[in-house]
């Protein structure tokens, strides 16, 4: 199977400080890759590098097209939606406006309307709060909004940065159930960063474990899960 996303020798730096030191990362078409590692390992930076939000090097391609030298806005237009660290919703705008913005790069108005209804079907809590300011939502609802907004792009690849962060267990289960459904029913590929390795490995078919910007291990999710040494050393459970 061809990968939908492939990065080779990915590097990234904040100013003079290099944070990623050459990573190879793949997401299969229709697959889910989990990106694991301790706090500060560089997981968020990988997602930022793929979207050209930091200075980066190496090669990355999406559906066989090079992402090198492309601006964030153009990468998004190729069908990569990023649910960033800290959610990145527009707190001062309404839920509805956030969803409209998610579809900003699209031109197919009628389909956008249909998708808005579909996405609200996934997240009924959002549907009830469409006219409310996003900043007034609870943490779980904001995470839902961030995912819903990303889905409004009708992405082929979803980059998710710790979707379970700061959420109650019930809300986490809810969100992962929906992610599974989106992957299975809509065929959206995913690259997911998670602190909760168990959850992510359940969803993923492939996993990468990174340590201070270098690949510590990568392979099928089941193999990573069953590797006691890796689990002890990097996933702390």
């Amino acid at each position: 199977m061809a990968p939908i996303l492939e990065a080779r020798g990915l590097t990234a730096a904040y100013g003079p400080i290099q944070v990623l030191h050459g990573l190879d990362i793949r997401v299969e078409d229709g697959g889910v890759t989990a990106l694991l590692g301790a706090n500060g390992a560089g997981k968020t930076t990988v997602l930022r590098a793929l979207c050209a939000m930091v200075r980066r090097g190496g090669a990355a391609s999406f559906r066989g097209r090079s992402l090198n030298g492309q601006a964030t806005e153009d990468i998004v237009r190729l069908g990569i939606a990023h649910v960033p660290d800290g959610r990145g919703t527009f707190a001062a705008l309404t839920v509805n406006e956030n969803l409209r913005l998610g579809a900003y790069a699209r031109r197919d108005r009628a389909a956008v309307k249909a998708d808005s209804a579909r996405v609200c079907g996934y997240f009924p809590r959002l549907a009830e709060r469409r006219q409310q300011q996003a900043g007034t939502l609870s943490g779980g609802e904001q995470q839902m909004l961030a995912i819903a907004r990303a889905l409004m792009l009708r992405p082929k690849l979803l980059l998710l940065d710790e979707p379970s962060f700061g959420l109650a267990p019930l809300a986490v289960a809810d969100i992962f159930g929906i992610l599974r459904k989106i992957n299975r029913d809509d065929g959206v590929s995913m690259l997911i960063v998670e602190q909760n390795a168990n959850l992510a490995l359940d969803l993923a078919d492939h996993a990468c474990v990174i340590e201070t910007g270098r690949m510590a291990m990568s392979g099928p999710a089941a193999v990573v899960r069953d590797n006691e040494a890796v689990r002890r050393a990097y996933l702390s459970y």
């Binding site: 601006a71 237009r77 990145g88 527009f90 001062a92 705008l93 907004r149």
Partner: protein, 290 residues
């Protein structure tokens, strides 16, 4: 009493001008957190463009619309060419760039059109509308044109995709890029919009204050006072502030300080607001945003 009402109503006309220019200031402030000190001179230059067009025989309203379009383009080009290189520059550098622009537009107008005062025609009839004895038809017309412009701007920001994208880009540039918004262009369009709004203010003010390269100096000060009074973070607060300042100026000029030193009213308002309530009457707290 009648004289007082007269002062209030005719204050509304200049208030409309201040409201427009205050809105132009806010449009740029919200996206960049800078006050464009050249906004007034840009509006003055636009007014000369209108004068030029009318002088060449273009009918008033066609010249009016053409001037708005040309000003929009000039505003966009200034952002792309002059402002953009200073995107990450310190605030003081940006202020100096704005003052540079101010001086350039002022001398460009003086060089091209001379510093002699010109009269500028009003599109409105000589007799007051509907027997309104408090306002001349140009004064009422200015208020009407301004309200129409404000309604259009409101509809644009509230209901169009581009307007929403511009608000998003001002609120959160990083998240905006992640949904595919070209933030740099949103800024350029913001500059264009501000210049176009300023052009309307200039064309409405010119029949009242006459056309000369320095016509906008005092007007910018009053507009800034209006924007600060209403809240430079809140477009509709700033608009209301502009109207309030217009009326205050007129009333104070007639009864308190005399027309010669009316400008100090603007300064008193600016200093007063900055000391007593920096966020203005309707603004968000500025401290929360930095």
């Amino acid at each position: 009493m009648v004289a007082f009402l007269h002062q209030v109503f005719s204050g509304l006309a200049m208030g409309a001008v201040y409201a427009s220019l205050a809105l132009a200031l806010v449009v740029i402030y919200q996206a960049t957190h800078h006050v464009n000190f050249a906004q007034g001179e840009m509006a003055m230059f636009s007014t000369y463009i209108a004068w030029d067009l009318i002088d060449r025989g273009v009918p008033y309203w066609e010249a009016f619309l053409l001037t708005i379009a040309i000003s929009f383009l000039i505003g966009m080009v200034i952002e792309r060419v002059v402002i953009r290189p200073f995107e990450r520059a310190p605030a003081l550098t940006v202020v100096i760039v704005f003052i540079g622009l101010l001086v350039i537009f002022n001398s460009l107008a003086g060089w091209r059109y001379s510093y002699t005062i010109k009269s500028f025609e009003s599109p409105f009839p000589d007799e007051p509308w509907f027997g309104n004895s408090f306002m001349s038809s140009h004064e009422s017309g200015t208020v009407v044109v301004t309200l129409a412009m404000l309604a259009l701007v409101y509809i644009f920001f509230r209901f169009t995709k581009l307007g929403l994208a511009m608000r998003a880009a001002a609120l959160n540039p990083t998240s905006s890029r992640l949904v595919g918004i070209r933030v740099g262009w949103m800024l350029a369009i913001g500059w264009g919009l501000a210049a176009a709004i300023g052009a309307i203010a200039g064309m409405m003010a010119a029949p009242i204050v006459y056309l000369d390269p320095n016509m906008m100096g005092g007007i910018l000060l009053f507009s800034l006072a209006g924007a600060l009074l209403g809240g430079i973070d809140n477009p509709w607060g700033a608009v209301l502030g502009g109207f309030i300042v217009g009326v205050l100026e007129n009333v104070a000029g007639a009864y308190l300080v005399g027309t010669e030193i009316k400008l100090s009213v603007a300064l008193i308002i600016i200093v007063g607001v900055l000391v007593a309530k920096p966020s203005g009457l309707f603004g968000r707290r500025i401290a929360a945003r930095v």
